[in-house]
């Protein structure tokens, strides 16, 4: 066990720090923030991602031959720490980097890798995930969107739902039914679909928070070249399981942990600057207990991720521990936002842009957004089934 950094790793940190100091807009996080408007914010995040790429900091953990940096585990952890330290913006193409890219790297043909991976790294292509359907959520294997092979193309018909960022995406990876007569897990295929294809339409869906990040996506006789299948025909379930392992795994958790630790630091700063009666709110022992619990849980999120990375590096397979990671961070983060609302007390309901909102109203928005954590990427109930059955061996 060793958490220390070599001179080389410290060098990596110094380079990244220097680059960040230049790359972020002056006053970032103090006087300059992300745009309020949803679309402008998306474009701001995309521009930031492109900047990271131009600086050589995109997909740092990917192999060098596909444009990555082949970063070590330590470098990834340093990257996460430094991004957190400066409160760097999030990206827009998270699904591209973390899910599409990782799945293509693992199962794609050489031609697919050569074509898609550099375009993901540069965020020239933003990706969305076409898994869920109105009647196939937790029971993902019952998707009905059909893909029929005709010569060199698949003809796709059906509907996906909850498709996050479809409105900004050039590409979608989708789980579709290619054999309706086979048992449900055995008739699925994994297709890469160009969102510009004729026959695709999307309709935004409004979320709890009032934002419209996700959509309904309709496929009406959409033609997809057969070359755009990942894995074999009817082997899509196995490919999709890889995608889910990354969606729930330590890479994803470490990225999120950055955001949560920033928000927690902001919460602590806010509480430290908030008067309550004759004292400051931060002096309230109950407030301090709640904050400290979240400090601990957010730190454990990081440690869980690093510990699981180490297991993979030491030769263990990706298994149900991804579910352990996901179940943990999702509830810990929800606890943190619930604690934030508790701590703010009487002014907790005041949101942006009210001048009296705490921390610019971010906690109210984040609180609402946090409700999704235990639903997407496999709901908590599904994660508990996986842990119970596959890790602990309990009967089905």
């Amino acid at each position: 066990m060793d958490f220390s950094y070599s001179p080389q790793e410290e060098g990596f940190r110094t380079d990244l720090r220097a680059w960040l100091a230049d790359a972020l807009p002056p006053g970032w996080g103090e006087t300059v923030f992300e745009p309020e408007d949803e679309d402008e914010r998306a474009m701001f995040r995309l521009a930031w991602e492109k900047k990271l790429h131009a600086g050589g900091w995109s997909g740092i953990n990917w192999p060098v031959e596909y444009g990555g940096r082949g970063a070590t585990l330590v470098e990834r952890a340093i990257f996460a720490e430094e991004m957190a330290r400066v409160g760097a913006p999030e990206g827009l193409n998270i699904i591209g980097h973390n899910l599409a890219g990782s799945t293509i790297l693992r199962h794609g043909t050489e031609a697919q890798k050569q074509y898609f991976l550099p375009r993901i790294l540069s965020s020239e292509d933003v990706w969305c995930q076409g898994f869920s359907e109105p009647n196939a959520g937790s029971d993902l294997a019952s998707v009905r969107t059909r893909a029929e092979r005709r010569g060199d193309t698949f003809i796709v018909n059906g509907q996906k739902i909850w498709t996050s960022f479809a409105q900004y995406s050039q590409w979608c990876f989708a789980l579709v039914r290619t054999d309706p007569d086979a048992p449900k897990h055995k008739g699925l295929s994994f297709l890469l679909i160009d969102m510009k294809s004729p026959g695709i339409s999307i309709r935004p869906l409004r979320q709890i928070s009032g934002e419209c990040e996700f959509n309904e996506t309709f496929f009406d006789d959409v033609e997809v070249p057969v070359d755009n299948i990942v894995g074999d025909i009817n082997d899509g379930w196995r490919i999709a399981m890889t995608t889910l392992a990354y969606e729930r795994g330590p890479e994803d958790a470490l990225g999120r942990q950055i955001r949560f630790s920033q928000e927690l630091e902001k919460l602590i700063d806010t509480v430290a600057a908030t008067p309550r009666g004759d004292a400051m709110l931060i002096e309230d022992p109950i407030v301090r207990q709640k904050l400290a619990r979240s400090v601990t849980e957010v730190e454990v999120m990081r440690l869980n991720a690093v510990r699981t990375f180490s297991k993979y590096l030491n030769g263990d397979d990706r298994g149900p521990d991804a579910s352990v990671i996901k179940l943990y961070w999702s509830h810990a983060a929800q606890n943190m936002y619930e604690a934030a609302m508790d701590i703010l007390g009487p002014t907790a309901p005041i949101a942006a842009p009210d001048p009296l909102s705490a921390g610019g109203g971010r906690f109210q928005l984040s609180y609402l957004q946090s409700k999704a954590f235990t639903i997407y990427s496999g709901s908590s109930e599904i994660q508990r089934n996986i842990i119970g059955e596959r890790m602990l061996g309990l009967p089905r």
Binding site: F3, R288, A292, V300, R384
Partner: protein, 374 residues
């Protein structure tokens, strides 16, 4: 960076677990039967107490991280507390002791000749070491200590005491003049909890460990003990989880194993997540203590607060999953419930440690702001 244990570290854990399993009374239903002196001797013969002692003093020269899994095993096996206490005291003597103390004590610790109990808490004083009233003066140590695990079978007492206006640790022989010991009536009779009254208790030669007041000796002791207790709590929690899962697989009601019911399965899954999370916190803390990393106190407090809560919750759930069986004396789950309470309140409970985390976090955040402003 690597957050895994090597083969040697894992095998130490397995060896201690196997040894303790040879003493079924340790985890048997009757706590009064669980204080078998042969356990100490067996652990000593195994060389457990030599592990943290430097080679120059006849030991193996390992660090806390090397023994993390062995400590988990001590927790899981409900080993006599004096084993952990002696290891914590060893860490302090190795890190902070004078050359003379090291030369005289460490070789005897390594062979298992010296058992050391930790005398910290006082009636009416809470958990804070700075609030200690016991005082070391010209004619010995005077004060009254409570909840000292295994004080009655110790050779030495490491006593938290006011020294020259500060707070420090002093060594007193258990059979020294002015020391009297009374057993508490308490929730876990296997922990050997005692009240120790020091009435001008005679000091050993060279009794003061490290520097009083200014030095790191008391914080180091609190951290090392918090981490060792957290490790033991995780050993217990993992063992209780296994018990719950085994029972859920075999107990049949309504024609199926109860583990097929989601309300039971999901509880087990939540416990498994809590055990993994607690281990992440504990293992990291073992590492910070081994390296004396700047994050040591914060991570020790995180581990102690968090793992204490995890062990408590897992013990509670395990009783529930066992139904009426869980409530019986005979099954012995109560032994873990009892010990978990003792560990939870030793060296600061979660409330005390969460407050300490907050103080550390605010200090770090202020230092960070200052650095950014500069």
């Amino acid at each position: 960076m690597n957050f895994g244990f090597n083969e040697e570290q894992k095998s130490l854990g397995d060896t201690v677990a196997a040894l303790l399993a040879d003493f079924p009374a340790l985890t048997g239903p009757d706590p009064a039967q669980a204080r078998d002196p042969a356990v100490w001797q067996a652990l000593a013969d195994l060389g457990l107490f030599a592990l943290l002692v430097p080679e120059a003093h006849g030991g193996v020269g390992l660090t806390l991280v090397d023994v993390a899994l062995a400590i988990e095993a001590l927790g899981a096996g409900l080993a006599p507390p004096i084993a952990a206490s002696t290891m914590i005291a060893t860490d302090i003597i190795v890190r902070e002791g004078t050359a003379a103390q090291q030369a005289s004590l460490l070789p005897r610790i390594a062979t298992g000749e010296l058992r050391i109990a930790l005398a910290m808490l006082e009636n009416g004083q809470g958990y804070d070491p700075d609030a200690v009233q016991t005082v070391m003066g010209g004619n010995g140590v005077t004060g009254s200590k409570i909840l000292v695990p295994d004080a009655d079978i110790a050779d030495l007492l490491l006593v938290l005491s006011r020294v020259d206006g500060g707070v420090g640790l002093v060594l007193v022989a258990r059979d020294a003049r002015g020391v009297s010991i009374r057993h508490h009536a308490d929730i876990d009779p296997s922990s050997g909890l005692c009240e120790v009254t020091l009435d001008g208790a005679a000091l050993m030669d060279d009794a003061l460990v490290g520097h009083a007041g200014s030095g790191d000796v008391v914080p180091r002791l609190m951290d090392a003990a918090a981490i060792v207790y957290a490790g033991m709590a995780m050993g217990m929690a993992a063992r209780m989880l296994d018990a719950a899962v085994d029972y859920a697989k075999t107990r049949v009601q309504f024609g199926q194993p109860i583990g097929a019911f989601q309300s039971i399965k999901h509880r087990c899954a939540d416990m498994a997540v809590a055990v993994e999370a607690g281990r992440s916190a504990a293992y990291y803390a073992f590492w910070t203590a081994a390296e004396n990393d700047p994050d040591r106190s914060r991570s020790a407090s995180m581990a102690k607060a968090y793992c204490g809560e995890v062990a408590r919750d897992v013990c509670n759930e395990t009783v529930q999953i066992h139904g009426g069986m869980g409530f019986t004396w005979e099954l012995g789950l109560h032994r873990f419930l009892r010990r978990a309470k003792v560990l939870e309140h030793g060296f600061g409970n979660h409330v005390w440690h969460y407050e300490r985390i907050m103080a550390e976090t605010l200090a770090a955040q202020a230092a960070g702001d200052k650095a950014q402003a500069a």
